[in-house]
Every structure is written in C-alpha cells, then in structure tokens.
Amino acid sequence: MKGGRAAAPRSPGEGAPRTAWCGDACLVAEFGDVIDPRVNSLVRALEAKLAALAPPWLVEMVPTYRSLAVFVDPWEGPRDEIEVFVDRLALSAEREPPPTAETLAVPVCYGGAWGPDLDRVSRHAGLEPAEVVRRHSGGLYRVFMMGFTPGFPYLGGLDPALETPRLENPRGLVPAGSVGIAGRQAGIYPIESPGGWNIIGRTPLVLFDPGREPPFLVAAGMCLKFVPITVEEFEDITRLGRGTAP
C-alpha cells in the first residue's frame, strides 16, 4: 500500500485478523491464537483507532491478549455495516503505529508476611530469594488484559526462570495488593479474593477503589515496573495516602 507503513513479519500463531460475533451486541476481532506482545499491539492499535473514531454505535471495548471485543448498542446500527467497518480497521491495524504505553512504577514489599510464597518460587527456580526479587523487579511488564476480578491485570514479561505452577490448594483469601505468579503469568490482586497464585510480595498501592476518580490505577496496554521497598516504606506509603502512584 502506497505511503503505508511496511507491516512487520507475522509472529508464529499470528493469523490474518478475523471478526466474529459473540451474540448480537459484541463483535470480536481476533489477531491470532497466541500470547505475544506483537499480537497484543495490534489489539491495542485497533482499540485506539476505534476510540478515536468513536462511532455512535460503540458502547465499550474489551482488549484481551489477542482479541478486541467491540460492544455495540443492540438497538443501534446495522450489524453488517459495523462488521465491515471493524473488519477494515482490523486489517489496517498492522500499519498503525503501536500506541505509546504509559509506565507505572509499582512499589512492592517482597517476602515475609507480604509474600508468603517467595521461598516456594525461590526453591522452584533454584535461585536465592534475593535473586528472585532482583529478576522480578528487573523486568518491564505489559498489561495484556484485565479480568478475573475488577482491576486484576494479566501481566506478560515474567523472567522465564521465575515460572512457577499455581498452588495445589488455593488460598481462601489473598489480601488486596498481593503480587503473584502463576505459570508464566504475573499479576496483582486488586481486591481481597480467593486465589491460587504464588504470592511473592505486596504493593501498598490501591489498584481499585470504586469511590475514587479514576477507580482503576492500571489499564490494559500500560507497562508496569516493580520497585522493591522495605516494610517501613510500605507502611509510610499506606499512611501517607492510599492509592495514587508515587
């Protein structure tokens, strides 16, 4: 295409974009069948494009690892036109510059009562706990999608050495702010909930507060960086005002 950006070669598992309806009020554009940053960038490019165009039938969008769900008003807009519109944008997503990602520093108090599974991860990896912390806080994580509970970010970018299977017996209650690992995924529990992830630390940031504007600190497409802090710093941040990023 003249004047267009040259499309990068496709990643394995990345397919030509395809759209499919999930019911009559949700059109899903799928860019592949793989967890891959490049595929996720296409999802974000389409999301940004649609958000900028803001067609009147658009209600909201849910970006996931490899697909964008476009929710439409069931009472507005002919479905075939919507499909053609989204199809066309999905095909051109490859030529869009990937949207810039905001980076949020997430302070984490590792180990001890804050991270009861740090030793488990350390044993599994055959690394000293300090090395686990160094590697975990050394990475840049991409928020691929949000789900599970309100405000739960699914993070990609975990050091493969830290991959650890889920707990055999999930905990009844994992405290809000807990930072965990499940297989090759990393995540943060925004609210107290049951869960089977390996908890290696806790952040004093309040990821989700329904009474706050905005209610969520983290959004799909952002990048996260974990910053080790001491117990004293954890308590200071908690005391000095919950929620906002340092």
Partner: protein, 355 residues
C-alpha cells in the same frame, strides 16, 4: 421518602440498567436481568428507563412505604399484594403512606419481578450506576442483598408520576412467558472448537437450569457437548448471554454479573432480545437453543425498542386525561423537567375542593 424492608425475600437487590464503561477493567455490567421489564416499569411510574428499582427473585420481599408513590411491578411469577390484597403486575398502582407491599406464592411462570417506584431507589451511585454487584460487594444498598430493617431512600418523583395510576401496559408489549423457551442464539465465536455431533447435541437437546445458577451464570444440566479442540482457549471477552462450554461439556450461560473474560470456548451467544426469557427462568426450568441470524436478532431488538417508544406515547396520552385520584398526603415533593432542567417542587395542600 423511604422504603422499609420488613422481610427481604430470597434475593432482592437494587438494580438499574448496569454499570457501563468498565468492562475493560474487569467490571461486569450488572443491572436488571431483564432490562426491558425494568425500563417499562420505570416509564409507567414516570421515571427515566434507567432509574434504579428492586429485582426480586422467586420469593418476594415485604416492604413498608413511608410516603405516597406510584409503583409498577413488572416481570412475573411473584403475585404482588398491597396490604394483603392482590394487585396487578404491569400496572401503575398508587401506594399510600403506611401501605405494605408483599408478594404471594409463585405463579406457574416467571422467576423474577422488578419493582419500579416513582422517583426511583436513590441509593448512592457507584461508578455511575446504582446496580448491586454482589460478588464485588459494591453498588446498590451497601453492596449486598437487602436485609430486614434496611431503609431504602427514594428519589423525588416526576410531577406527572401519580397520573399513571391505573395505566396498564398493553398485553402485546409485555414479554410472553413461555414454558420450555427456545432461546435464540448466534453461533460462535468458537463453534469450531466443537465436534459436529457436539453442535447437533447442543441445538437438539433440552437443558435444565442447575440450582447452582445465579446472576453470574446459569449452569445447565443435560447432554454433554463434545469438544474437538479441547476446552481451553486463550482468555477473551465474555459478554452477557455467551454460552461457554467447559471440559465437562455442560453449557454455562453467562449472565449480567458474569466475569468479563474467560478461557472456555463459546459455542454460541443468546441474542439481546431473549435475555428476558432467561431472566424469567428459575432453577429446574428447562430451555433449549435455537440458531438465529443477526437480521432476526436486530429485528427482535428493534421490536423491543419500538415497544418502549410506543409505551411513552400511550403514557403521555393517559396522563393528559383528568386526574382520577387526589393525593391523600398533605405534603410531598415532585420533580419537574422543564427547559432542559430539573426542578424539585415541594407542595402542601391548602384546601380540598369538593371534598
């Protein structure tokens, strides 16, 4: 200006048309399981379609009114009564101060009713909605189901609210409750994950709603649907109405409080216009699925929208007729919408002509 809960019923929650705009953050929509029934009831009592009402499940609550209001109970199956006397559903009914609204035994069809009150339930909105999200413990009344002794604040009714007294929503607009409904679904998006035989089983079987079903999802009992490509996909979005099939082959219909993302393949998804059919179904009820195209789905949605538009016109005509009943209360408050603004008017009776 409040409603006292004398007994809460089985599962009574404050719901409006849901919390939009936060699905991308993992926040489900919530809201009335039958949006049409809530919207229609709200119009009858002079509210906007999205005012908050009460969703009541199988066993209704008992509620004492502390002020005079027009109410409309929509949905079906719960036999509303005022001071022990049966009142009709889908009609504007005047409730006097001190009256008690209760609900009798179950009727043959219907599992849920929505109570709409002039002025709406005025609990504080959370993230733009008054809907209760039970699992997230937020919205509605303290983020939970109603309990005995709760006092629900009521909003100021529209100035014409009481004029809807006696108005009955025409039968052809009301959802027809049917036994063993065939829920219309759009196939996919992961129909290809199932064997041809599995797909046949899905569309030709009768399923029963499992007792473990709730506002998050309906688990179904019946013939298992066989996967071709395994029961795991990379998690993607799950809208209300989507039918997921986990490894055991038994379909789960995701409902208004359902998780926003999920990793089971979706064989099909119910059309928007048939969500009300699901809301009317109780655990133990049967249902089946019927393939439907986007054109039929759009036409069905259009019919619902036209029904609400028609209802507005009928109500405007009805309210312009001479008033039949005079308020018994001596004072009250009303809301007037005028020149793009809303005005609250407090009134006091200074004389009763001809009485």
């Amino acid at each position: 200006m409040s409603l006292e809960v004398l007994s809460p019923g089985l599962l009574t929650t404050v719901q409006d048309l849901g919390r939009r705009g936060f699905r991308a953050f993992g926040m489900p929509l919530s809201g009335a399981l039958d949006p049409f029934s809530l919207a229609a009831g709200n119009l009858v009592v002079g509210n906007g379609p999205g005012a908050a009402g009460l969703e009541m499940t199988l066993v209704g609550p008992s509620l004492a009114f502390r002020s005079e209001r027009l109410i409309c109970v929509t949905g079906g199956g719960l036999s509303p009564r005022v001071n022990g006397r049966a009142i009709p559903c889908w009609e504007g009914v005047l409730i006097r101060e001190g009256d008690v609204l209760s609900f009798g035994g179950a009727e043959p069809w219907g599992a849920r009713c929505w109570l709409c009150v002039g002025g709406g339930i005025d609990t504080p909105p959370v993230m733009g909605s008054r809907s209760t999200y039970l699992r997230g413990k937020l919205g509605g009344y303290k983020g939970r189901r109603l309990e005995r002794g709760d006092l629900l604040p009521l909003g100021v009714p529209d100035i014409l609210s009481l004029r809807g007294e006696g108005f009955a929503v025409p039968g052809e607009i009301r959802p027809g409750f049917v036994d063993d409904p065939a829920v219309r679904v759009i196939p996919g998006p992961q129909e290809g994950h199932f064997t041809g035989e599995g797909i046949e089983v899905f569309y030709n079987s009768t399923y029963y709603i499992d007792p473990g079903s709730d506002r998050m999802g309906y688990r179904l009992q019946g013939p298992a649907v066989q996967h071709r490509l395994g029961a795991d996909i990379i998690s993607d979005a799950v809208p209300w109405g989507a039918v997921q099939v986990p490894g055991n082959g038994l379909p789960i219909i995701m409902m208004a409080d359902g998780q926003t993302t999920g990793g089971y393949p979706k064989i099909a998804a119910a059309i928007s216009a048939d969500l009300g059919l699901l809301a009317a179904a109780a655990p133990g009820d049967s249902l089946s699925f019927r393939r439907c195209g986007l054109g039929e789905a759009a036409a069905a949605s259009r019919t619902l929208k036209e029904s609400l538009d028609g209802l507005r016109v009928l109500l405007a005509g009805y309210r312009s007729r001479p008033k039949r009943s005079f308020p018994k209360a001596d004072r009250g408050a009303l809301r007037l919408h005028f020149d793009g603004g809303s005005f609250d008017i407090t009134w006091e009776i200074i004389g009763r002509e001809g009485r």
